[in-house]
Structure formats: structure tokens, C-alpha cells
């Protein structure tokens, strides 16, 4: 780990003033950043600790109600706080489940909302500075394309990067049409707040896999707003992985159904573990609307959701696995 200097920010203005400097990272839970700093994958010269901002503005670290029935997740709220929150569990079961199925009890007590959606891929080549990686070192090449790529993405890939986005929470958030609120920017100081729809927050790797989000350097996430969605009470996050707990998804599905009788009026569908970003499938949602909720419908919709999947040597199994994961999620959420 290279040396860095450390600043404890006590107010939001202090934080974004310090965060706009070159080679500066904000740190909250630190569970991704410090891990990657130990590997010399992340090499910030300055760290701005934002964990005390909740003292000046408690809402930054809390779950709070929004007018109209939505919920605001303060950027510093910890995964465990959000997962166990009774409003989150009642209104958005998939959100709570996506958090409880992620990481471990210790990590969930540390990792923040803002950090979770900014976590970096677990691609082993990204984490290994001895191998080429376009995401870590633009232009150096992708080791996964012809390497061991069993855990890699099949949706949204490019010839430059096939790394999977690792967050479970982000899959639920993209399904729920969440909105990211940010402050600050390259100039720091009192830059007005702006909002980024969650679906536009992460970007596809394309020719520049080093760019993962539309967040600008120095901008600080202050909250993630989850709008009201009445039928999200019938929602589910299903995660399939190599072991029963404490592992990243091989495939996952976040689903919500608006059911009347046996007919689906509206649906939300997003996939995890298979995309280079949290993968919302509007096509699959449209295909479900107005259909009877039957196994045949679900199977057809799963085919649509995985249309366009591109596989590599070791991850072709993910197409079938993702389809089966989605069908099972849709079946279980009916129960």
C-alpha cells in the first residue's frame, strides 16, 4: 500500500471541498477500498473519511420516509441498518433480501449504501496487478477473455472487459427505479445537488471499462431514493452461488409482480451475477404484462431476458442458470 494522507471530514462542505483534489477517494466502510489498496489496485494519495458526516446531518446515515411512500437511504446507512429496517422489509422485501444475502454479518455492519453501489468487480484479473486488465490499466488488455472466466458476465460485455458487477443491492435498486443523489464535483465547494437515475448510474464497459459510473470525480453520493411502488410488497431477490452463504452471485434475480387474479399487470425484473452492470430487463417486463402467470410464460420471459447473451469458454452455463434463476424467482414470488 502506498502512503496516503488522511482527512476526517466533519461537514458535507468540508468533505466535497477535500474530495475534489486529484487522486482522492472518499472512504466510508472501506471494505472494498481498503481491500484493493492492500493489493495496490487502488492507490489514492488522499483519503477523506466521511463517516462523521452523520453527526452534522443525521439523515446521511439513516433510512427515512419520502413523501408519497418512498424511502431515502442515506449514503452512510450501513447494509445491516437498511436490511433490518421494518419499512424496507415491509415495502421492498427484495431490497432487504438483496442485502441479507450479500457479504457477511461483519461486512454488512461496515459497508455503506454509497460504497456498495460503487464497489469494484471481483474479477480475479482486476485484483491481480501482475496480469493485464483494461479496467485497472486502460489499454493493457483483458486477461479474462481467454483466461479463466467462469464467474464472468454474459450480458453487456465488450471485447475490452467481461467483468461482472458484484453488487446484489444494485440489482434490487435498478429494478425499483431508484435515484442517486450526489453533491460536489471537480471544483468542490458548494455545487448544487444533482440526481442520477439508477439505471444511468452504471455504464457498460465498451472501449473504456475503467469508467464504471456517471459519477464525476469529487462528487459524493448523499442518498439513494427508492420511490413508492405498491406491488413491491410482492417482490423477491433470489441468489444462486457456489456455496449456501457468503459468496458472490453466479446468477441472481430481483423480481416484483403486480398480480390481479392469475394475470400479471406489471412486473419488474433485474438480473445480477451475469451483467457488466446491474441488469434491468424491460423487454422481459413488457413480455410479462397482461399474461397469465404460468410456468410457460415464465420460461418464455426468461428466454427473452437472456437474449443476446455472449458466453466465453467457462461461463456458458450461466445462460441456463440465469434463466432457471429467473423462473424460480417468478414462481416463488407468486407463493
Amino acid at each position: 500500500m502506498i502512503p496516503f494522507d488522511y482527512t476526517l471530514a466533519t461537514t458535507l462542505d468540508d468533505a466535497i471541498g477535500a474530495g475534489g483534489r486529484p487522486s482522492t477517494h472518499y472512504v466510508a466502510g472501506g471494505t472494498t477500498l481498503i481491500d484493493l489498496m492492500k493489493l495496490n489496485v487502488e492507490t489514492p494519495a488522499h483519503l477523506v473519511d466521511i463517516n462523521s458526516l452523520g453527526n452534522a446531518d443525521a439523515s446521511l446515515a439513516q433510512v427515512s420516509d419520502l413523501p408519497g411512500g418512498g424511502i431515502r437511504l442515506g449514503a452512510l446507512a450501513r447494509m445491516s441498518d437498511v436490511a433490518w429496517d421494518s419499512r424496507v422489509r415491509g415495502r421492498y422485501p427484495m431490497l432487504s433480501q438483496s442485502l441479507l444475502l450479500a457479504a457477511s454479518g461483519q461486512l454488512r455492519n461496515m459497508a455503506s449504501m454509497g460504497g456498495n453501489v460503487l464497489q469494484r468487480t471481483r474479477c480475479p484479473y482486476f485484483r491481480d496487478t501482475a496480469t493485464p486488465c483494461n479496467k485497472r490499466e486502460p489499454g493493457s488488455g483483458c486477461s479474462a477473455l481467454h483466461g479463466f472466466n467462469r464467474s464472468h458476465a454474459i450480458l453487456g460485455t465488450s471485447e475490452h472487459c467481461i467483468a461482472t458487477h458484484p453488487s446484489d443491492l444494485a440489482v434490487a435498486l435498478v429494478a425499483l427505479d431508484a435515484v442517486v443523489r450526489v453533491r460536489g464535483g471537480p471544483q468542490g465547494g458548494r455545487v448544487a445537488e444533482r440526481t442520477i437515475p439508477f439505471a444511468e448510474f452504471h455504464v457498460l464497459p465498451g472501449a473504456h471499462p475503467e469508467h464504471e459510473t456517471t459519477l464525476r470525480h469529487g462528487e459524493l453520493i448523499t442518498a439513494i431514493d427508492v420511490p413508492a411502488l405498491s406491488f413491491a410488497t410482492r417482490s423477491l431477490y433470489l441468489k444462486v452461488r457456489d456455496r449456501a452463504s457468503y459468496a458472490f452471485a453466479l446468477a441472481s434475480a430481483a423480481v416484483a409482480l403486480d398480480l390481479r387474479g392469475g394475470t400479471i399487470r406489471r412486473a419488474r425484473i433485474a438480473l445480477g451475477g451475469v451483467g457488466t452492470k446491474p441488469w434491468r430487463s424491460h423487454e422481459a417486463e413488457h413480455a410479462l404484462a397482461g399474461k397469465a402467470a404460468t410456468p410457460a410464460t415464465f420460461a418464455a420471459v426468461a428466454d427473452i431476458a437472456l437474449r443476446g447473451a455472449v458466453t466465453h469458454q467457462h461461463n456458458a452455463f450461466k445462460v441456463k442458470l440465469a434463466k432457471k434463476t429467473l423462473v424460480r424467482a417468478l414462481t416463488q414470488v407468486m407463493a
Binding site: D5, Y6, S23, D35, G105, Q106, L107, S245
Partner: protein, 334 residues
């Protein structure tokens, strides 16, 4: 005891001899001991005391690294380390070396903590325990210190960053003042700087749970946070777990007792992390089943595979049946 002295050390200088004599004579059971001999010059020099089986090894070379590990950068410093290796007292700030009276008071308070009611050390106990804890006077000559500072400055220039910073941690109810590089994790601060090795380093990447401690009552991984980020928080480690529930002396926390009763370990390396995780987990809103325990504890890996017994131990505590009355609480003085 470790002493870092910033001046060229002449063990025979009159003021030093007087200092040793005053210090030694203040220690319980050693009244009347006087400096008798000073060993030949070399990497180690021994001070021998009359009327005592006590000699103090003096490290005279290679101590710059040791000073750095203890966070000593300039000026004299004194550390009192107990037989368990825990730093019980320190005097780092200021230009003056701690007085023999200060050190003697610290040693007396240390003895009071260690199931010796207070000041009841026998000379033999004192010699045995303090020698085992590296009772030493270390010398840090000015020339070596200058080299150390030059190296640090060069590294800082290279990366545009930093020096050590003063970090105050509240661990097991005690305040620790350390001088740390910001890169030092909470885990390394506990193990390498505060001499509290009960918290274990397994993977050092947040994948095994061996380093689990409590911060403000919640279980976290000490390997994935910097010590400088944990100031002002109440940190509990395995060393302070029993006292955190009011147990005294050698009494164990009910969870520790349950792990013993159910053989919740083989090699024991993951055990401090398992127990810290388990103690926090029982306060979280999990269901009552064994499977809930397995899920809640999935962040703690046991290479020996003691999982069935770990689950049994935790379930015993959750069901309120404890085995604290069995044999392990021996010799508690209060």
C-alpha cells in the same frame, strides 16, 4: 518495561545509576536493591542489581525499528508491558524521561490488575513475569533516529503523503495513545502496536472473520478499517470480552464458556473471531433455528471444520442455558 532514550547512553553516568536505584527500590519486594554491575559493551548490556536475582538486559543496537513499531519518533519514552504482553502504561510525550516514581506507580498498578491484590508481588514473581515480558531498556542513538526520519521523509516525498499521526483508541475501556502511519489497520494496531494479539490475522482481506472485533457494540472486521478511522469508538476485543459483561478475574464470558463446553474449536486460531462474531450475532434479529446461526455466522471460516460444535455453543447461549459454573473460573481475586 521498554525505555527509549534519545541521548547517547552512558550506563555508568551518575544520574542514570541514581535513577535505576530509585526505580528498583520502589518496586514491591525489591527495597534495598542497588545497582551492582554493568556488563561489557555490546548489542546487549546487562545491569545487575545487588540483593536481587534481577538483571536488566539493555538493547543497545538495532532498536530504531522497535522504536518505530512502538510509535516513538523523538524524545524519550517509557513503556510498561505486563506478562501478557499488554501495554499497561506509556510515557511518550515531552522532553523528559518519566521519573522512577512514575514508572514505579505504573508497575504497582499493573500488579494490582493481575490478580495480585496490590503490591503483593514477591520478588521471584516480579522477576519471572517482567523478564518474560522483555524487561528491557532500549537505547535509540541520535544518529539512527536521524536516519529513520530521513527514510520516512523520502517515502513521503515519493507519494505526496504522509507521516505518522497521533491516534487515540478506546480498547476494552482503556485509552491507548499510539503514533501510527495512517495505513495501519485496526487489526495491526491492536496486534503490533498495542500488543494485544488476541485478535487474529487470517486472510487480511475480509474473507475469513478471524479479525472480528466489536466497534460500538457491532461486529466488524478489524482488517478492513484503518485504526485512524476508529478514534472515539468503543472497541472491544476478545481480551476485554469477559470484563465487558462484568466478569472479573479469570471468569469467562458465557459464550467463551459455551465454546469450551461444546468443543467449538480444534486449532483455535479462528476462535476469537468466532466468539466475537457470535456474541454480536445473538443480539441481531435472526430466527431461532440452527440454520439461522449458520447463515449469521457464515462470515467466520473454520479451517478445522468445528462448525457443528460452534452452532451448538451459540444455540446454548441463545437458549439461555449457560455452563459458567463449571471449572474454568479459578483464582479470581475479587
Amino acid at each position: 518495561m521498554l525505555v527509549f532514550s534519545s541521548s547517547r547512553w552512558d550506563p555508568a553516568a551518575a544520574e542514570h545509576v541514581e535513577g535505576y536505584n530509585r526505580l528498583i527500590s520502589r518496586l514491591p519486594g525489591l527495597a534495598g536493591a542497588r545497582l551492582l554491575r554493568i556488563g561489557p559493551d555490546g548489542p546487549w548490556r546487562e545491569l545487575g542489581f545487588a540483593d536481587a536475582e534481577l538483571s536488566i538486559p539493555v538493547i543497545t543496537e538495532g532498536s530504531a525499528e522497535m522504536a518505530r513499531r512502538y510509535g516513538v519518533r523523538e524524545g524519550p519514552a517509557v513503556f510498561v508491558i505486563d506478562a501478557a504482553g499488554v501495554i499497561r502504561w506509556r510515557h511518550v510525550e515531552g522532553d523528559a524521561l518519566a521519573t522512577p516514581d512514575d514508572v514505579a506507580r505504573a508497575l504497582a498498578s499493573t500488579s494490582g490488575d493481575e490478580s495480585h491484590a496490590s503490591g503483593t508481588w514477591t520478588r521471584r514473581e516480579f522477576v519471572a513475569t517482567t523478564m518474560a515480558a522483555a524487561f528491557a531498556i532500549a537505547l535509540l542513538p541520535l544518529t539512527r533516529r536521524a536516519n529513520l526520519q530521513a527514510q520516512t521523509s523520502a517515502a513521503a516525498l515519493g507519494a505526496g503523503a504522509s507521516d505518522t499521526v497521533a491516534v487515540t483508541l478506546k480498547v476494552n475501556g482503556r485509552e491507548l495513545s499510539l503514533q501510527l502511519d495512517p495505513r495501519v489497520t485496526l487489526l495491526d494496531a491492536l496486534r503490533e502496536y498495542a500488543a494485544m494479539p488476541g485478535t487474529k490475522k487470517g486472510c487480511d482481506h475480509g474473507q475469513c472473520g478471524a479479525c472480528t472485533v466489536h466497534v460500538d457494540g457491532r461486529r466488524v472486521l478489524s482488517c478492513l478499517t484503518f485504526a485512524v478511522m476508529q478514534q472515539g469508538k468503543a472497541i472491544t476485543t476478545i481480551e476485554g470480552l469477559a470484563q465487558s459483561v462484568g466478569a472479573s478475574g479469570d471468569a469467562l464470558h458465557p459464550m467463551q464458556q459455551a465454546f469450551l463446553a461444546h468443543d467449538g474449536f480444534q486449532c483455535g486460531y479462528c476462535t476469537p473471531g468466532q466468539i466475537m462474531s457470535a456474541c454480536a450475532m445473538v443480539k441481531e434479529p435472526w430466527g431461532a433455528e440452527d440454520n439461522d446461526v449458520r447463515e449469521a455466522m457464515s462470515g467466520n471460516i473454520c479451517r478445522c471444520g468445528a462448525y457443528p460444535n460452534i452452532v451448538a455453543a451459540i444455540q446454548e447461549v441463545r437458549r439461555g442455558k449457560t455452563s459458567t459454573e463449571s471449572g474454568a473460573s479459578k483464582g479470581a481475586a475479587t
